[in-house]
Amino acid sequence: MMQAIYQAKGLSKQYGHKTALDNVSFEIFPGRLVGLLGPNGSGKTTLLKLSAGLLRPSAGHVFIGGQEPGVATKTITSYLPDRMALPVEMRVDDVVNLFADFYKDFDMVKASHMLADLKLDPRQRIGTMSKGTQEKMELCLTMSRAARLYLLDEPLGGVDPAAREYILNTILRNYSEEAAVVISTHLVEDVERMLDETLILKEGQVLAHRAVDELREESGMSLDEYFRHVFRV
């Protein structure tokens, strides 16, 4: 029996009186591409931040490779935040060196190739790039790691449709085999084809956690249609 790389057990998070996540439990197995779907405010970012160890749960637990978020889980988790987190005053090669310094699984050659494809000058400062380029660069760094779990928060967030293809291709080409990938997005149509399973959140609760093929077969709808159906106003 394969071991789950990721487990959430009764995970809850409250911000003051507001409940962002409510008793969420699920497991993710290696080798799976999981779409974390839900409208804005459904708890996607909170779930990923809890998993990355940037938030502490109000109740329940997260286990990554059997451990709660900490130094051990951070060495095997590659996390792409929903915002630009690279220091704007740093240069491209400074940031690459920083990743290489801190992450043992960082593939310098891979990263250099990807950044060269983006036509980035190693001495360019992050702050002088366009927002789209910054996001692509951040994704390249995230995907240059041979992690066991990738947590990608809205990788398609602020980029134009042309760049979406680039981003999805980068993810598909570079995640290490046997790793699990969690992609949060509300652009269901764009990611539908690449997902094994979907975890749909609604108001902080798991509405569905299913294999995408299964769900399509049962509902007779594409995942995108299903999503719209569930969340129609």
Partner: protein, 273 residues
């Protein structure tokens, strides 16, 4: 891990501080040169231009001296504030424990503050001439062998005060980040509230202490007096080291408490906005 964190911290802080240090040094050198030129020319002919340049440079140098302290302080506080904000998304994703981030930031903060002091002192040494015995003498006395004990004590107290000051501000920021929407405001309010609370506690302790001492039976007071007197008679000067050690210990204790609470907050209660 600590080494790497410290390295990146120093680079980030150095980027801002080093230019200011260099500026201070260059200006001080210019001041020293113009000062000497002024003195040697003065006896021959009046040189108002050189005098004007000299005083302008002096003002500028004073500004840089002030800046190297203020900026060192502000930058280091800002680094910790940013750690619990946007920058935390990168830093707390690194496989390092929260206390290591804090330790790296604190070490860098103290190191760069001390470095700023040393740069300023070095620069002053440049244009303080032999005639300025007013400055030289006290320094000489302070560094004299027989006063080494007290000097070391004072330096230690200053260092512990500096550590405490940074840790206190870290704590305020850590508490302030419990309100992610108004982090800055919450940190500032915490600064004043905690400061006020600490004063209150101190006053209460003083009052309680006073009451206890006031209510002690005469016999107990006498024996304490007796003990202290005896101590100072039998081994003259031994009260100083003992008292000094107690004071240092209290400072270390205070710093330790600040550290422990802040570390607890950023590891067990971390909530990035």
């Amino acid at each position: 891990m600590m080494n790497k964190l410290l390295k990146y911290e120093c680079i980030a802080v150095g980027r801002i501080l080093v230019p200011i240090w260099v500026g201070t040094a260059v200006l001080s050198l210019l001041v020293a040169v113009t000062e000497r030129m002024n003195q040697s020319f003065d006896s021959l002919v009046g040189t108002p231009v050189i005098a004007m340049v000299a005083s302008f440079l002096q003002v500028l140098t004073a500004l840089f001296v002030a800046a190297s302290l203020v900026v060192a302080f502000v930058v280091n506080i800002q680094r910790f504030y940013k750690l619990l904000g946007e920058q935390g998304y990168l830093m707390f994703s690194l496989p390092a424990a929260p206390w290591q981030h804090m330790a790296a930031k604190l070490l860098c903060a103290c190191g760069s503050t001390v470095a700023s002091f040393l740069v300023i002192m070095g620069c002053m040494g440049l244009y303080i001439t032999d005639t300025d015995s007013m400055v030289r003498e006290p320094v000489k006395i302070q560094l004299a062998l027989e006063n080494l004990g007290i000097t070391v004590f004072l330096v230690l107290i200053l260092v512990l005060l500096m550590v405490g000051m940074y840790l206190y501000l870290y704590l305020c920021i850590a508490i302030g980040s419990r309100w992610p929407q108004q982090r800055l405001l919450a940190s500032i309010v915490t600064y004043f509230v905690l400061g006020f609370a600490a004063q209150m506690v101190f006053i209460v302790l003083m009052v309680v202490g006073g009451i206890i001492i006031g209510n002690l039976p005469q016999g107990a007071l006498d024996s304490i007096n007796q003990f202290l007197l005896q101590l100072s008679f039998t081994t003259p000067g031994s009260l100083w080291p003992v008292g000094g050690a107690v004071v240092l210990l209290l400072f270390v204790l205070a710093d330790g408490i600040l550290w422990a609470v802040t570390q607890y907050l950023i590891s067990k209660k971390l909530n990035l906005p």
